[in-house]
């Protein structure tokens, strides 16, 4: 049975690669029995959501500003 330290490593890796069938099963069993790791897994998903949210926010504000009137003309010449 894997411990929590090993489980956290796998919970990160499952966001980056396909785990083996054995690792997936082991992790599922572990998170069924361990509420701390079950929460850790949800929190990993939340971190990913937060990052996407931050990127989306930057791009959305850019769109809003472009729609605003009277944006100054480009004045910066390209570097020589």
């Amino acid at each position: 049975m894997m411990n929590c330290k090993q489980a956290t490593r796998l919970m990160s890796e499952e966001m980056d690669r396909d785990l083996s069938a054995g690792d997936r099963l082991g992790l599922r069993l572990h998170t069924l029995l361990c509420s701390g790791c079950a929460r850790y897994r949800e929190q990993m998903t939340f971190l990913r959501q937060a990052c996407r949210q931050q990127v989306a926010a930057a791009e959305t504000v850019a769109g809003d500003e472009a729609a605003a009137p009277a944006s100054p003309p480009p004045s910066d010449p390209p570097p020589a």
Binding site: C4, T8, R17, G36, Q43, Q49, A58, E59, P73
Partner: protein, 214 residues
């Protein structure tokens, strides 16, 4: 001896290449994106001068390629895609600099040992607690200030790998190739970054009154 510094008249390296006629049409619109592009680039590069360079290069590339751009409605998506590529270019150049530190050496695995008992299970007081409905924090400005602060507390190379994965949306294969790391080391760095970021948010947001109020 072959020609040394002869410039190919059709070469793309020539400065002052003529812009296509479509460039004038989209230049003003692109200028409207400038400030947010700069913020996006600064987020990734953590250095104002490099961020300016990335935005400048992206703008120029967009204007030079204006004749290949058809759908005006997708201008924003297009310019940000170009910007992302420029950011990756700059990161790639940095990796070749002598001062570059291998992200693997930035955080010691043992730094997280105090979270766990000897048998590898959570300590009673470090076992992840319930964050409630954490998505509600997205609407709270203070949350994003804490999020930025936590990101800034990660060592620079570790933060870079994490952001290439989660904000630029690169696959780990691509990150490993850009940074000349093995896949395994890439996963280790991502794991440490997530561990650190989770712990920081837990301590500075969700455990405090901010999380309760959000």
């Amino acid at each position: 001896m072959g020609p040394s510094s002869q410039i190919d008249p059709t070469g793309s390296a020539t400065a002052g290449r003529e812009l296509p006629p479509q460039a004038a049409d989209i230049a003003a619109e692109l200028a409207g994106f400038r400030r947010e592009m700069l913020r996006f680039a600064t987020l990734h590069l953590r250095d104002q001068a490099s961020a300016e360079d990335a935005v400048q290069e992206a703008m120029l590339a967009a204007l030079q390629g204006a004749d290949r751009f058809g759908e005006r409605a997708r201008l924003k998506t297009w310019i940000f895609a170009i910007l992302r590529n420029k950011i990756v270019d700059i990161i790639r150049r940095r990796v070749r600099e002598p001062a570059y530190e291998d992200p693997l050496n930035e955080i010691d695995e043992a730094d997280f040992d105090p979270l766990f008992q000897g048998n590898g299970h959570w300590q009673r007081d470090t076992r992840p607690s319930d964050w409630g409905n954490p998505e509600r924090s997205f609407e709270n400005r203070s949350f994003w200030a804490v999020f930025d602060a936590c990101m800034n507390r990660l060592p620079p190379g570790t933060a870079r790998v994490f952001m290439m994965r989660e904000m630029l949306g690169l696959e780990t294969d691509e990150i490993c190739a850009e940074l000349s790391m093995s896949s395994n080391n890439c996963w280790v760095v991502l794991h440490r970054a997530r561990m650190g970021l989770r712990l920081c948010l837990d301590q500075r947001w969700f455990a405090g009154s901010g999380g309760q109020a959000a």
